[in-house]
């Protein structure tokens, strides 16, 4: 409470010069943090990849190559140089967008990532929207009715989402909603009939098709998306609701909540107007982390639904010792986490005045 004020003379204004300097130092420290995180991330993945006894030369030339061809490739890859130099070469290449070539797809890794990430992005985004739109209100209601029937119902439904394996839910979902009822489309991102019709701009089919005004494809893509996204959404919903519930229970025992009721607010009005805005900071953290882990790609869901996303791509690369692809995927996942942390930090300041300025 160093900036407390007595009697109305309040020290909240500052001179603009000091504010500009403050802003500059904040931006500077942010860029530094970003660079340090990036260097750390790439260093760890790079050196781990070099510790594995996979021969990157053999992966390129094949085991029938002559020893001369092998040596040429060895030199071309710069493997004769010290490890630390190799790392800096790798880092410089990354900065120019050169992630190397994937052995498995024989495409540049960057092109691969630009193809698979939008598929995961589409899935994860719809899933987190479901998780937040349903999970947050469910958690608030459960917390505010702690121990009574609405709480019990929400907790049981949440526990089910927590404990049932996703592949089982995926298969049953496909069997019921696709196989029996025919309400949704089957596996993959689009019916074969529609594939390749829409020009790729963002790679997110819903957006690309909407940009062309092709609503038939939007509908078909949505019909493919809704089941896997719904299942992933159910999982994040269960987690988000559980956390929201416990955050709310903390707030409802606070004095300001009682004060809000003394003023004449109804219980539910006090819950939504007073307690709920106070759980925003931890809630943003939980939602951010859920979203980030969804964007990593959900291997099981992507496998069951033949969804060509990031999780499937990295897993396949791992099984085939496709090191460039694994490294590229890891850097992308790291970048996703850094971005989400950054956005969360900005949202914290919007949600809580105590975190703004000073």
């Amino acid at each position: 409470m160093s900036e407390s004020a007595e009697g109305g003379s309040v020290a909240v204004r500052q001179n603009p010069g000091r504010q500009a300097a403050k802003l500059a130092s904040r931006v500077g420290s942010f860029v530094l943090t970003l660079a340090a995180t990036f260097v750390g991330l790439t260093a760890v993945t790079f050196f781990i990849s070099r510790l594995t006894n996979i021969d990157p030369v053999l992966a390129i030339v094949g085991d029938k190559a002559t020893s001369a061809a092998y040596d040429n490739a060895y030199l071309a890859l710069g493997l004769d140089k010290p490890l630390i130099v190799q790392y800096f070469i790798y880092l410089m290449r990354l900065l120019t967008g050169d992630f190397g070539r994937s052995v498995l797809t024989s495409q540049p890794v960057l092109a691969d990532l630009l193809r698979v990430f939008p598929a995961t992005f589409e899935l994860a985004t719809i899933a987190i929207i479901i998780g937040v739109v349903v999970g947050v209100p469910a958690g608030v209601i459960a917390g505010a009715t702690k121990g009574r029937w609405p709480d019990q119902v929400i907790r049981v439904v949440g526990l089910f989402g927590y404990s049932v394996p996703v592949f089982w839910l995926g298969l049953i979902g496909l069997f019921v909603f696709y196989g029996k009822l025919g309400w949704v489309a089957g596996t993959g991102r689009l019916d074969v009939f529609y594939q390749g019709v829409v020009t790729q701009r963002t790679g997110v089919i819903l957006i690309d098709a909407a940009l062309e005004g092709n609503w038939e494809i939007v509908g078909n893509a949505f019909s493919h998306l809704i089941l896997p996204a719904g299942i992933l959404g159910y999982f994040s919903l269960a987690y988000v609701a559980r956390m929201t519930r416990s955050f709310m229970i903390d707030q409802l025992s606070q004095e300001y909540f009682t004060a809000a009721r003394i003023k004449g607010n109804s219980y539910w009005r006090a819950v939504w107007r007073h307690a709920f805005p106070n759980i925003m900071v931890p809630l943003i953290t939980v939602i951010g982390l859920s979203y980030a882990s969804l964007l990593e790609g959900a291997v099981l869901t992507e496998t069951v639904f033949a969804w060509p996303g990031l999780g499937l791509y990295i897993t396949r690369a791992l099984f085939n010792s496709d090191m460039n692809a694994v490294l590229g995927g890891t850097v992308l996942v790291g970048a996703v986490f850094i971005t989400i942390n950054l956005v969360s930090d900005l949202l914290y300041k919007l949600a809580d005045p105590r975190l703004r300025a000073s």
């Binding site: 409470m1 900036e3 407390s4 004020a5 007595e6 009697g7 109305g8 003379s9 309040v10 909240v12 606070q254 004095e255 300001y256 009682t258 004060a259 809000a260 009721r261 003394i262 003023k263 004449g264 607010n265 109804s266 219980y267 107007r273 007073h274 805005p277 106070n278 925003m280 949600a351 809580d352 005045p353 105590r354």
Partner: protein
């Protein structure tokens, strides 16, 4: 004095626990007009619980019974949640102990005060804001327009408590319960806040229940004092007569207050007699 504002007869509050019920308030009876009533007692004597019972704000598990508990013709025992909402803030209100915890940290204080007006008075946002600014002036905030836009963490304790008073008095209730309204404040601002509270209560002709453990403050500030011990009202007397209190507990409390004039090496303590409990 005309018909009392508040009548309480045989109020009992108990909480279920592992070893049976804990009786937090036992057999409490008192009446209150448009006067200042002090309720004094040590921690855990049931003062706060009694205050919250009068607002219908005890936890769900609490069991409240009474022969009579009525406020200005309204039977509080049969109030529905909706009835309570009309009473709280508008007819009877409460100033809580520590503004650091009792103000909503993420809402501007102006909006917190205006909310009470919007809940009870037929008014719009603009008028609620005007009333809020007037109320801020009434609690002697020097720059109401500025303070209106501040968040609670930008206020000192004394300012915070004046905001609290403004928030609880803006809808002009007839009875205010003040639950240790100054014990979280610095000694230097305690008197200032008390004076503001005193002025407002006097000018508006309200009833006041002052819950405290500060005997000196209560005896100088209130007309009548109730002494509580272990959930019971053990003594009731005029504040001016407090020095002549008959109950041994009250006498012990008074004796435990050190005097500046008499040099002492050892402070008096309260020796409890199980007899006090019946």
């Amino acid at each position: 004095m005309s018909a009392p504002l508040l009548t309480v007869e045989d109020l009992e509050v108990s909480f279920p626990g592992r070893t049976g019920f804990t009786r937090a308030v036992r057999n409490a009876s008192f009446t209150l007009g448009r006067e200042r009533l002090g309720i004094v007692g040590e921690s855990g004597s049931g003062k706060t619980t009694m205050g919250r019972a009068l607002l219908g704000l005890l936890p769900r598990t609490a069991q409240v019974t009474a022969r009579t508990m009525s406020y200005d013709g309204t039977n509080l025992l049969t109030c529905t949640e909706r009835d309570w909402q009309k009473l709280r803030g508008r007819r009877l209100s409460m100033v809580m102990q520590d503004p650091k915890y009792s103000l909503n940290p993420v809402m501007r204080v102006g909006r917190q005060i205006a909310e009470t007006a919007l809940l009870h008075l037929r008014t719009d946002r603009g008028d609620a804001k005007r009333r809020t600014l007037a109320m801020l002036e009434a609690v002697q905030i020097r720059d109401p327009e500025l303070v209106y836009r501040l968040y609670p963490h930008q206020l000192s304790g004394g300012m915070g408590q004046r905001i609290m008073i403004a928030m609880m008095l803006i809808a002009e209730p007839d009875l205010l319960i003040a639950d240790e309204p100054t014990s979280a404040l610095d000694v230097t601002v305690q008197n200032e806040v008390l004076r503001i509270l005193d002025d407002l209560v006097r000018v508006r002709g309200m009833g006041l229940v002052m819950i405290s453990h500060n005997l000196t403050m209560v005896s100088s500030f209130c007309d009548r004092v109730l002494i509580m011990y272990a959930g019971r009202i053990v003594e009731e007397c005029a504040a001016s007569e407090l020095q002549n209190a008959k109950h041994p507990y009250t006498q012990a409390l008074i004796a435990a207050t050190p005097s500046l004039d008499v040099r002492r090496t050892e402070l008096a303590t309260v020796t409890r007699d199980p007899e006090w409990l019946k």
